[in-house]
Symmetry: C2
Subunit: 325 residues, 2 copies
């Protein structure tokens, strides 16, 4: 019974949390048929699920630590986009075998991310098969404070966090399609393999935003979901984006805007909230900037030379879609 | 964009529920970064996750309707074992391609099961890869009423629902290892491919049971988890089990007791609750029977001829374990 499912869970996943506080509201964690917890009074439960598959979402050669860190980040990023604080998660891990090195690295990366995000593993399932990891994350948000995609209104400002397109550069570097000096390359590869979900923005989003989404499929595609669900249009100003110099040097802006895997947050802010938002951004030194405005309809990218109709130009409006070859 | 991820979700998974009532507490369902819901006052949240993989948990030739029905049943069965009522679920579906026939059948089976169990799909993720389905199910239980594996006490009666071993017979039939007349075979194959989680037992379990587990890895292995986590032993009476005649005719009791995939519930009942339980069982015509007793230590199977020490006999104490070849 050296490497069976139960001792595997026991050994690698029932680690004591290295956080000082016990999980809020947890009654029963790993080791029963299901986990039992109590959602704190006046809070809503926010739930997301995401799968990463070896060879598709990460290369088979990726470090197990990074794979674990990324899959939790991807899920936490969805919680952030709802204005929800990370709370607990369940892990469904499919493994080809009980490779000790993989499990040690994976466990290390998973608990590092869990610690960074203050989220606790409360249950899971393991089975044998090609490497695939599904995480279901639970977040909490005070009633009345969650954000949805459908909340944008004409006149709202469009804001984005961080630098869009770094993960796309990381992928191109890894595939040998581009070259870069080693320090810059490290930043881009890190953005691809070990993205950091923007939990630092949760309170800001709750207080000032009207709609939000995380950038997983590319800025244009993801903002497009907000527009569609809000029934509005948008004008984006290319020069207002904080893009890596590579994109201008190589006239490769569509690579940044459609790259995906950024896990930054794009959100909208009503005019009445803009001053308060910008004050908070300055006070806290956050990397958040205005990049456009919500309008009645249409979807345009304004560059120095022209206005590109994003609805008509597939090279700009592509995005990543799992079922388009 | 005929078969992309978004239209796929829209077409096959955003079906209007065919149940008359809206999902309790749901604020935001499929189509945003995450689902938002409110756990009803005085209820605890019960959460489980399970993956089924093609070629491992079901044959590649299984009907998509059955695959969907089974994966939801497997998850709901875990909720039942906690005394929790099914509430909502999230689906992570990995598909090799957007096969219309598969998706239509899968969607049909999924919503049939969702309807049978009064559980609603509120979110999910789709990606491309070898067929694998993960469901994360959420259940509700009044505070103070959930069951855990650790609750069994010496003197408790051991009860089980239904007939154990039918799924094992179904598997043997399907693999051509045994033969059977067509009506009997149909029952066993149905038990294997389209198990019905025992939601009819939830209220009974909450009222009378001290510990419970669902039989997924085999009766002996699963009851073993209860014993281990409760720090007790057990004596099981083989003749009290409602086994299919095949097992006696072929002296194949270990096949029934270790077969797994039954999704029946094995549970313990304190003596003071036995009369009430049996009255309810009779009143409601439930297929629940006493099969043994909890003792201080040891794990014995009592047959007509002998007492088998289950801790020493691997042919009886095997169970299904995903990481033992």
């Amino acid at each position: 019974m050296a490497s069976d499912e139960f001792s595997l869970i026991e050994r690698y996943f029932r680690q004591p949390s290295n956080r000082a506080v016990p999980t809020q509201g947890l009654r029963l964690g790993i080791g029963d048929d299901a986990a039992v917890s109590r959602v704190p009074a006046a809070c809503l439960l926010v739930q997301t699920i995401d799968t990463l598959i070896s060879g598709r979402h990460f290369p088979a050669t990726a470090k197990p630590e990074d794979v674990a860190y990324k899959v939790l980040s991807v899920n936490v990023s969805d919680l952030v986009a709802m204005g929800a604080k990370p709370w607990t998660f369940l892990l469904a891990l499919t493994l080809p075998d009980t490779d000790k090195n993989f499990l040690e690295g994976f466990s290390k990366g998973l608990f590092a991310a869990a610690n960074d995000y203050s989220i606790d593993l409360i249950g899971g399932d393991t089975c044998r098969g090609d490497l695939s990891i599904t995480i279901q994350a639970n977040g909490l948000v005070p009633d009345g404070c969650y954000l949805e995609r459908a909340g944008a209104q004409p006149g709202d400002h469009i804001m984005v966090s961080g630098s869009i397109g770094l993960a796309a550069l990381g992928l191109a570097l890894e595939q040998g399609r581009i070259g870069m000096d080693i320090t810059a390359a490290h930043t881009c590869l890190n953005a691809l393999h070990r993205p950091r979900a923007r939990t630092d923005l949760i309170v800001l989003l709750r207080e000032f935003a009207s709609a939000a989404i995380d950038v997983s499929d590319g800025l244009i595609a993801d903002l497009g979901h907000v527009l569609q669900q809000s029934g509005v249009g948008a004008r984006l100003f290319l020069d207002d984006l904080d893009l890596h110099p590579y994109f201008s040097e190589h006239d490769a802006h569509s690579m940044a805007l459609n790259g995906g895997d950024d896990y930054q947050i794009v959100f909208t802010v009503p005019s009445r909230n803009l001053e308060g938002l910008l004050d908070t951004v300055t006070e806290q030194g956050l990397d958040v900037r205005a990049i456009g405005e919500i309008v009645d309809d249409g979807y345009q990218l304004i560059t120095q030379h022209k206005a590109v109709d994003l609805l008509a130009h597939s090279e700009f409006a592509g995005g990543y879609n799992h079922f388009v070859a």
